[in-house]
Symmetry: C2
Subunit: 352 residues, 2 copies
DNA sequence: CTGAAAGCGCTTACAG
DNA sequence: CTGAAAGCGCTTACAG
């Protein structure tokens, strides 16, 4: 910073009063004489005073910044979740320290340390890949901490998740309902708990509905390679008639691969994804997807963190938000091209 | 934070030395006796010492955090740009303060203030919507500042952009080369400089190639409405044979709308977007798009900022990165479904 | 309602 | 190579 900052002392000197009074005008205005306050505020404005967040944070031992960490910034769901958190945080005067772990557990650890070294008031972890055991230690560090889309077996910690189990069941039930008998599940990252939950729930639901379920591991593979592996299954498992993909991009890749093989969607194979991304409605056929209240997930995470920061001793809460099914042409027998309905476009309004 | 932090004094006391020495072990290790240093480092490790970033920043007047601002977190290009910045910043031990302006100029202003109040070492603004005049003031504030995808007419400021003019020309030339005579340009946000540059460059290129160009304003409209407006043009301008969209999502929306009207792509109408998003290759037909070196844009922005932070007096630099054309089925006459080539998949490697 | 003073955790000339 | 001391900008009991 080239120019020297205006401090509370500059204002105090200019007005011939004490720095303490100036400080009070900002922190506890009710303690100071209205006229004085008025003059201070005006002078501050004139002199371009801007409170030093570092000095403030140094005192309380806590800044008014929050730490936010994502496992991989490229996952399109995170934009909405982060958007929800950011908006809520901004409105409550919190700044956001941001880190992208790049699916790297060691980096998650380092980012956490960075957050702590900045004395953040709280931390929100979006589906961290760090194993439970270590996560326990983090919770022990004493920072208000909220987990999004990741549950812990042992430790007590505020958690906000989407009902992945319910979503996966719903997906399988939908596929069964449209007459599908054998589903391929294209798995997501091993480290993603949502992946495990969905796979397991899908397996159970499939068993209950007497539908076959085969899981294809795609750990670390780009979507195009995933599609190729899917194609290999065509020889191996020629009888499958539905694909359920961990996310919409993978679903789209699968549709593309299937189409290239001359397989009709949804007549021969139905395809369903997760996340209900905005461009899903524009594919051919439009993609059926399991939608999640992403923005709200972010907002609730912030609320949970706020509660925790205010009353650290309160019981940890676990909040599970319901998702919902958005049926489009990739699973709907009658898949005539049509305008998307308002409900599909603005999925927020569909939330139960 | 529930537990009290270990400070430099705790270590000093434990070892019977001064805090200054402990501090030096971290900041200027070469100044301190090797044996002492060793003991300090060990003790620090044991006691779980973590330097307080706020205290450090308070001293120099500058923290080692950077401020990053985006106009709208939902734009998929930003994930790559931010990813590039984050990675570079992380490797150079900078934390990131993040803000999403939500296309709101007032919020941009407030976020900037927040960054300053945290004494950030520098700020990167991704295509800010704030008018030139005010941006000048910001530059006057003296913080190292880098603009991404936004140029300033008057002020001198480090800038990293993609060659939007060249990209738009390239797009028009490509459309002309495949025999198109009349292009509809679906415009992006008014506040986005890239939009203005592209529209103007497209206009010029169109004139040079004797191709018609008609701009459809879509300010503030969701993609679906944009598509509807596009459809209205079908009656109004039945002769257009190409659509150039501000981004891939809009291009996709256009393709969807055209297809729904029974118009063949690319035979009757060619469609081209900007950004080359990952899912563009999966549409039907796969989407031709103007690609940008997004991650590199972020990396160069960080480098520019770093240079500015180290030598504040140096001449401002303007860096223009070239983009490139990725031809796919939506503009290629022979649009038989096919596997995407390696070059299309990993567009990074295609960069000139 | 206001001021003097101590302190948050760290760094850095200044002496030794 | 090491320590005592001052200071970064602000807040907050403690007196008045």
């Amino acid at each position: 910073m080239a120019k020297k900052q205006t401090t509370i002392y500059d204002i105090a000197t200019a007005l011939g009063i004490s720095a303490a009074t100036v400080s009070r005008c900002f922190r506890s205005p009710e303690l100071v004489n209205a006229a004085t306050r008025q003059r201070v505020l005006e002078t501050a404005e004139q002199m371009g005073y801007r409170p030093n967040g570092l000095a403030r944070g140094l005192i309380g031992g806590t800044s008014s910044a929050l730490g936010i960490m994502v496992p991989d910034i490229h996952n399109p769901s995170f934009a909405d979740i982060i958007g929800g958190i950011e908006e809520a945080a901004y409105q409550n005067d919190f700044a956001l320290l941001f880190g992208n772990a790049q699916e790297n557990v060691a980096k998650e650890q380092r980012l956490f340390e960075v957050f702590l070294s900045y004395q953040v008031a709280g931390i929100i972890l979006l589906s961290p890949r760090t194993p439970d055991l270590e996560l326990q230690h983090w919770i022990g560090a004493g920072v208000p901490l909220v987990l999004v889309n990741r549950r812990l077996t042992l430790a007590r910690c505020d958690v906000v998740t989407v009902d992945h189990v319910g979503l996966a069941r719903m997906a399988v039930e939908h596929l069964a309902a449209v007459g599908r008998r054998s589903i391929l599940y294209l798995a997501g990252p091993h480290g993603a708990q949502a992946n495990q939950l969905r796979a397991e729930a899908a397996r159970q639901a499939a068993a209950e509905h007497q539908v076959g379920l085969h899981v294809i591991d795609t750990e670390g593979l780009p979507v195009t390679v995933t599609s190729e592996r899917l194609m290999q299954q065509l020889d191996f498992l020629p009888q499958f008639d539905a694909v359920l993909a961990y996310n919409d991009l993978m679903a789209l890749g699968a549709m593309h691969a299937l189409t290239a093989q001359g397989i009709a969607i949804p007549e021969q194979v139905s395809v369903c994804g997760f996340d209900n991304v905005s461009w899903g409605e524009f594919s051919t056929p439009p993609l059926t997807s399991m939608a999640q209240p992403l923005k709200r997930l972010g907002e609730e995470a912030f609320s949970a963190l706020q509660r925790r920061m205010e009353t650290p001793s309160e019981q940890p809460l676990e909040m599970v938000l319901p998702g919902w099914l958005v049926v489009r042409g990739s699973t709907r027998p009658d898949s005539t091209p049509r305008r998307p309905t308002a409900g599909e476009r603005r999925s927020e309004s569909l939330r139960p």
